[in-house]
Chain length 178, copies 2
């Protein structure tokens, strides 16, 4: 899974929580889903503000990123861990140090047994220019991290394997695979 | 995002579709969410059977995996691309060649503008023994692929960065970051 930090505003302060369960959910308009355990502080901010941010840290930020996954916003003030900025939405602080960030408007909240699945529409995307390619965020350039579970390890992207929605054109029949 | 193949049974045949929008959604019981465009054939199978499978291919399977993302089940019979097996659930064929597979029972269907977000409870997990560590699937050993968008590239996992829910204990204050 991609490693992201979810940004919210709780009691007037920026709060960031590291999350491994974020995914695109809808193509058009672009939406993203985030699964967050109900016990955490972040759901309170998202449900109050009806907004949140998604921040993609680079591998050099592993330690402060992991800290935001270890320590709850109810126990520590995490507003000073990173520099923050705002886009157009209230209540969705973003992290200046992150190469790519998004601000989202809450569209739907799915209540599951232990987690909320928050679905947000991406209203704005911000990226460092040197982490883009043709004006789009590039995860290799951004040096984004991948989380594997249940071994709980952060990884860099590795060897390029092939082109998605591309290399499959070389598939003729099952023989290539035997 | 992790590269997975979603397995369904459509008109009595196994069908597999490559998906980049899959994520864990609930901790306990374990659930997974999958965002799939409504135009595809796969939603028909999931909605009829109330089950689906998640199959994690290895990097050596990039070409047939990508083929299953390029060609619709309404245009081609994809039942012969891989060898299939079943677990306990009807309608959820799994791929023998995949190092890790899961069978899921549909719990909730969230209808978004262009996509369904299917939420399934993981009822069984199957893994090649040499792709496990302490009886749990290990994505590095499995040689699972990561998809980056919008550049649409498949990657292997690369350099180990640090321990998740671990390295953050080294965070003292913001100074380490300046």
């Amino acid at each position: 899974m991609p490693v992201v930090l979810v940004g919210t505003e709780i009691e007037g302060r920026a709060n960031f929580m590291t999350v491994g369960w974020a995914s695109r959910a809808n193509a058009n308009p672009p939406m993203i889903s985030v699964g967050i355990n109900k016990k955490h502080k972040t759901p309170e901010g998202i449900l109050n503000n009806k907004t949140f941010s998604i921040n993609i840290p680079n591998a050099g930020m592993a330690v402060p990123t992991d800290y935001c996954g270890l320590v709850s916003g109810s126990k520590a003030d995490k507003s000073g861990v990173f520099d923050t900025f705002y886009g157009e939405l209230k209540g969705a602080p973003m992290i200046s140090e992150c190469p790519v960030t998004m601000e989202c408007e809450l569209v739907e909240t799915v209540e599951l047994p232990t987690n909320y699945l928050f679905i947000g529409e991406i209203k704005g995307v911000y990226a460092d220019e040197d982490c883009t390619e043709k004006n789009r965020p590039d995860m290799k350039k951004a040096d984004a991290m991948v989380l594997t579970m249940t071994d709980n390890r952060y990884w860099r992207l590795g060897e390029f394997v092939d082109k998605a929605w591309g290399c499959g054109k070389d598939y003729s029949n099952k023989d290539i695979y035997e």
